[in-house]
C-alpha cells in the first residue's frame, strides 16, 4: 500500500465532480501529493539526525528537537492530504450506494420497474448535499491545518539557529536546524497551494448553490406561469412540474408536451 493505491481510489472521483472539482483534484495530485512524495519527504528525511546542538550533553539534542518540532511538517502534510481527500471518497460511496439500491430494486421488480434514479451519478437530492458538505469539509480541513502550522511554526518559516535551555541542557545552547531555507521554500509552496485549494472549494460551493437557486427560481416562475395558464383546467390534470420545485442540477423546465416519466422519478431519494 502506498500513495499509488490512494491515487487509484481517488481517480473515480473525477467522474462525479464539476469542472472546479477536477481542477482541485489535479492541483492536489500534482502540486501537493507529487511534490510531497518526490521532494518534500527527502528534504525532511534527516531533520532529526542533522539537528545539531552546541553541546555534548546527552539528551539535550533530543529535548530541544522535540520542543522546536512538536510535530514535523511532513507528518502534518501527510495527515492533511489524507483528510482532505476523504470527503471525495464519501461522494463515491454515496453513488455506489445509489447504484446498489437501483440494482436491488431491478432484481426484485424486474427490468421494467420504475427507476429510482435516472442517473445515480447526477448530483441531485441527497447526493447534492453530500457533495456540498464534502466541499465545506475539504475547505475546513485545509483551514484547520494552516492554523495548526501557524501555531507551531510562526510565520510558517524556520530560523537557521534556535536557542534552547531545557533540561538537561546545561545552559542556553545554540541548536542548528538542517536545510532551513529549503524547508521554508517547500513550506511556503504547500501553504500557497492549500490556500488555492481552499478558494477553489469555496468557489465550487458558491457555484453549486447559485446554480441550484437559479434553477429553483426558474422552476417557480415556470410553475406560476403554468398555473396562470391552466387555471381553467380540471383538477385531474396536474401541472407538469407536479408541485416539485426542488429539481436536479441539470433540470430544464419542459416547454413542449408532458414527458413520459413523472417528475417523481427525477427527484432522487437519498
Amino acid at each position: 500500500m502506498n500513495w499509488g493505491v490512494f491515487e487509484g481510489l481517488l481517480s473515480g472521483v473525477n467522474k462525479y465532480s464539476t469542472a472546479f472539482g477536477r481542477i482541485w483534484l489535479s492541483l492536489v495530485f500534482i502540486f501537493r501529493l507529487l511534490v510531497y512524495v518526490v521532494a518534500a519527504e527527502r528534504v525532511w528525511s534527516d531533520d532529526h539526525k542533522d539537528f545539531d546542538c552546541n553541546t555534548r550533553q546527552p539528551g539535550c539534542r533530543n529535548v530541544c528537537f522535540d520542543h522546536f518540532f512538536p510535530v514535523s511538517h511532513i507528518r502534518l502534510w501527510a495527515l492533511q492530504l489524507i483528510l482532505v481527500t476523504c470527503p471525495s471518497l464519501l461522494v463515491i460511496m454515496h453513488v455506489a450506494y445509489r447504484e446498489a439500491k437501483a440494482q436491488r430494486r431491478r432484481a426484485v421488480e424486474g427490468d421494467n420497474c420504475r427507476r429510482v434514479y435516472l442517473d445515480p451519478g447526477k448530483k441531485r437530492g441527497g447526493l447534492w448535499w453530500t457533495y456540498l458538505l464534502s466541499l465545506v469539509f475539504k475547505a475546513a480541513v485545509d483551514v484547520i491545518f494552516l492554523y495548526i502550522f501557524y501555531r507551531f511554526y510562526r510565520n510558517y518559516t524556520l530560523p537557521h539557529v534556535v536557542k534552547c535551555e531545557l533540561m538537561p541542557c546545561p545552559n542556553i545552547v545554540d541548536c542548528f536546524i538542517s536545510r532551513p531555507t529549503e524547508k521554508n521554500i517547500f513550506t511556503l509552496f504547500m501553504v500557497v497551494t492549500a490556500c488555492i485549494c481552499i478558494m477553489l472549494s469555496l468557489i465550487e460551493a458558491t457555484y453549486l448553490i447559485g446554480k441550484r437557486c437559479r434553477e429553483c427560481l426558474g422552476a417557480q416562475r415556470e410553475q406560476s406561469r403554468e398555473h396562470r395558464r391552466d387555471c381553467a383546467l380540471s383538477p385531474a390534470e396536474s401541472p407538469e412540474t407536479g408541485g416539485q420545485v426542488f429539481q436536479g442540477v441539470d433540470y430544464k423546465p419542459p416547454t413542449a408536451s408532458i414527458p413520459a416519466s413523472t417528475p417523481q422519478d427525477e427527484e432522487a431519494l437519498p
Partner: protein, 212 residues
Amino acid sequence: MGEWGFLSSLLDAVQEHSPMVGRFWLVVMLLFRILVLATVGSDVFEDEQEEFVCNTQQPGCKPVCYDAAFPISHYRFLVFHVVVLSAPAALFVIYAVHQAAKPGRGARPVQACYVGSVVARVAAELAFLAGQGLLYGFRVQPLFVCRRRPCPHRVDCFVSRPTEKTVFILFYFAVGLVSALLSLAELAHLLRKGRRREAEEPGAPPRANLTV
C-alpha cells in the same frame, strides 16, 4: 511500503459482501490505519532506537534501557493490530470463495461466516484498544529513568520525538474507537436484518446478498 498492497487488495475483496457500514469500516481501515501506518508511522518510529540517548558512556547501558523502555515498539504493536484485524476478513474471503466453488450449498453458511468474522473483529478491536491503553498509556514521556545493569546508577535516557509519537498514538487510538463503533454498528445491523428476515419468512432460505 509495497508489502501492504497484498493486505489492501485482500480487504478490497471483502467489500463485495459487506453492507454499507462494513464498507465505511473498510475505508477507515485502509485509509486511516494502513496508509497512515505505512507512510507517517514508519517515519516517526524509524529512528527510535538510534536516537534514544542515555546520559552515560557505559557500554551496553543504552540497549538495555531501550529494551526496558520499549519491550515492543509502538509501531510493531500497531502493525500486529492491523494484521489481527484483517485476519477475520481474510478468512471470510477464503471461505466465501471456497463455498462459491460448490454450487447448491445455499447462502446461510456464508452469511453465518460473515457475521462470525464481524464478531471476531469487534472482539479484536476492543482487546487492542484496551491493550494499547494499558501497555502504553496515552503519552510518550520524553525522559525514561533507567536502573538496569550494566548501567552504573540511575541514568537519564531521552526518547526521540516524544510529542510526535504521542500525537500519533492518540490519533491511532481515536481511529480505533471509530473503527470499533463502526464494527459494533455493523454487527447490530446484521443481527437485526437476520432477525427481521426470520420473522418475515421463517421457512424460506436467506438471500445470498448481504449488502444493504
